[in-house]
Amino acid sequence: MEKKRKLRPDRQWLRHHAASLTAYGGLIFCVVLFTVLTPMFGESIWSERKLATLMSNVIVTALMSVGAVFVYALGNMDISIGRQVGLYATLMVLLGNSTGSLLLPIVLCVALSVVFAVINGAAGDLLKMHPIIPSLVLMFFLMGVNSLIYVKLDTRNIALTAMPHDVFKSPWLMLAVLAAEVLIVSYLFRYTRFGKYARAIGANQVATRQCGVNLIRYKIIAYIIMGVCVVVASLFQMGYTGAASDATGTGFEMDVMVALILGGMPLSGGMRSKVSCAVVGAFTFALLDVGLPMIGIPTKVTFLIKALIFLVVIYITCRKKDGVLPR
């Protein structure tokens, strides 16, 4: 019988951490690249204005992605995130204008996010279908609800006029909220059974069930944690312009997916899932968005460059020879 070749410890470590190294390396590479190149083109990426732009670019995706780590750790994904953001932002503007406060809309949005979490978390197991299907149904449902709201309002954009929203533009507030969310979610993910079970389900659902874990319960909890993070993200999305539209949130589910993959998140979930993937990926993506135009890259070309970088990351982090995505 052929003896399995044992790797040297350093090579084992490298193989084990390839995804993380690539993700962190990519972020560091972008930081160094733009730090060196942007001053040659007139304005440093470290200027106050560009840092504020970077923060506002990163905040919504990062807040959503950090929460989504719980769901991705299960080996699931939620493609209704974007439409949830659209609905929450719309409700915040409408109820904010009518009540003069954001408290009621926030409470309502959190309650809605729990309902959506129950649907997304439980429907897959109960109806014996792939978990992406309920989120697909929910996405279309929310799309319809949002459309009806704007048809009824007879407009495409609505603005928050009853109160100032400038506070949500503060990069320091963004940073503080993101840091707080990362700390809370990291704690839940690493040190509580919610996180441990989420990773265990992603690693081996059958074994986890055999251990007596109530899968549906912990899946719903994972979706609730993500849902609350999506509400927080919606608050900043709405506060960014003090407005919402029938298109708010469109494509955000892809932003989350890209951020997580760039951050080295295994799409199959499991024990290698980390909250840091969300932050690293979101910052890398935002750095490219802000930095590439600063060095004179035309907007059309930036899409191509981002696609190439995405391809390289996928190529490096894909551990299965015939696979196409990180796992």
């Binding site: 590479f29 690249l33 190149l37 040659m40 083109f41 007139g42 304005e43 204005r49 732009t53 506002s56 670019n57 459309s147 704007y150 048809v151 309002l153 007879d154 407009t155 495409r156 954009n157 609505i158 603005a159 999305q237 960014y240 312009t241 003090g242 407005a243 919402a244 539209s245 029938d246 298109a247 708010t248 469109t250 968005d289 802000v290 590439l292 135009p293 600063m294 060095i295 004179g296 890259i297 035309p298 907007t299 059309k300 070309v301 460059i305 190439l308 970088i309 390289v312 190529y315 490096i316």
Partner: protein, 407 residues
């Protein structure tokens, strides 16, 4: 091997980035000052401020986009500006547009020409020194009272907006009514986009119906409008539309929307399938350079009229921006307003042939620019001290930028 390949790819990317970068676009902290080679006829060469102009558009291809690109390349180069495309949010979401502008912002940007109105008030609040002009937008509901960008009208750096065709829905409805009467159609139906997105199109439909009702009071051959207006939610007209027996013998479908994409394929298929009369025609908006579609225009073809905003109406934002950047807005300019674009009405085969051979819209060739550099200079206060706002408005409303004005 994998790592080497990845490293090579990364290095290639770095070199590509540096190679693609345009040092000429570098900012200097303040707008550049240089001296153009061309001065005012009969006067001294003026010293001019320049910089970069952003063009925020949801279009990234197609004949209209190519025409804008050619025009901006040609005229802004003469004026000493650089320009850059900003791809606005495809659905005009305020946050999406603000992010797009923020990402493209460099410190030599002096102006923004925007075909996207969502979030414009926020963009202007964030960049208070930047001059902004709207272009080819249905902004009546946005800049009007209670509109989400109404605050722009109070901003002294907002220089007004050129609508896509008529700002007023009433004028648009009248235009389509005139076409129907002129063509002698007696049985028509109407198709439009939802009023929450395009409020002026619904006003146009209401106006069209009112004019027809008025016309029918005295007409020997009254016009019948079949059914209520069909509202398309940004999806092509359904095949079921022509299965309704009342639409089997329509003379024309009146669709003041992007009908070449949203109505024509369904109409053509219904004619070919024999579901409706082979003589049913289409009166619509939007221009497509697809050869088979152009061949089906005029004469016995299905499409009889196309109305679009004249692409060279872009002279307006260019002139307004340059006058503002030079600090020389015309003395008779009293503040921002919404103005109609030039109306580019193609309603015969001869017109279409002329468009194909002589227009910037179809050819994308700078040699076919009607509002050329010499014309532009006429309206620039830094080149012509007698330049006036009224003259610019008059030029936009004249035949110069219409099909009749094609040389």
């Amino acid at each position: 091997m994998k790592k080497i390949l990845a490293l090579l790819l990364a290095l290639t990317m770095v070199f590509a980035l540096v190679a693609c970068g345009n040092p000429g676009a570098a900012g200097t902290g303040t707008p550049n000052t240089d001296t153009p080679t061309t001065g005012t006829p009969g006067s001294e060469t003026p010293e001019r401020k320049t910089g970069k102009i952003l063009f925020c558009s949801s279009l990234t291809d197609g004949p209209q986009y190519e025409a804008y690109t050619t025009y901006l390349d040609t005229i802004l180069d003469e004026l000493g500006y650089t320009w850059e495309l900003v791809i606005g949010d495809p659905s005009n979401d305020p946050a999406g547009n603000l992010t797009a502008v923020r990402n493209a912002m460099t410190n030599n940007v002096v102006g923004l020409i925007t075909a996207q109105d969502g979030g414009l008030a926020e963009i202007m609040a964030e960049y208070p020194d930047m001059y902004v002009v709207g272009f080819m937008t249905d902004m009546a509901g946005v800049f009007g009272e209670g509109g989400t960008s109404a605050a722009c009208m109070e901003n002294d750096h907002f220089l007004g907006t050129v609508g896509d065709q008529y700002i007023s829905g009433e004028s648009l409805g009248k235009l389509y009514f005139d076409i129907v009467v002129e063509q002698g159609y007696q049985k028509v139906s109407t198709v439009t986009f939802p009023p929450f997105a395009y409020p002026n199109l619904m006003v146009a439909d209401v106006t069209f119906r009112a004019l027809v009702a008025e016309y029918n009071k005295t007409a020997a051959k009254p016009i019948e409008i079949v059914g209520d207006v069909e509202v398309l939610m940004f999806e092509p007209l359904s095949d079921a539309y022509f299965m309704d027996a009342s639409r089997k013998d329509l003379d024309a479908v009146v669709a003041p929307i992007a009908g070449c994409s949203f109505v024509y394929p369904t109409l053509k298929a219904a004619i070919e399938a024999g579901t409706i009369s082979a003589d049913t025609k289409l009166i619509t908006s939007g221009f497509d350079s697809d050869e088979s579609l152009l061949a089906d225009f005029g004469g016995d073809g299905v499409i009889q009229s196309i109305v679009i905003g004249g692409v060279e109406s872009i002279i307006w934002p260019v002139v307004m921006l340059d006058n503002a950047v030079q600090g020389k807005l015309p003395a008779d300019y009293a503040g921002p307003e919404q103005v109609d674009s030039a109306i580019f009405l193609i309603d015969s085969r001869e017109d279409m042939d002329k468009v194909i051979s002589d227009s910037l819209l179809y050819t994308g060739d700078a040699a076919h620019i009607a509002a050329d550099w010499n014309t532009v200079k006429t309206y620039l206060t830094s080149y012509n001290e007698n330049a006036s706002y009224a003259a610019l408005k008059e030029y936009l409303a004249s035949d110069a930028l219409t099909v009749d004005g094609l040389k």
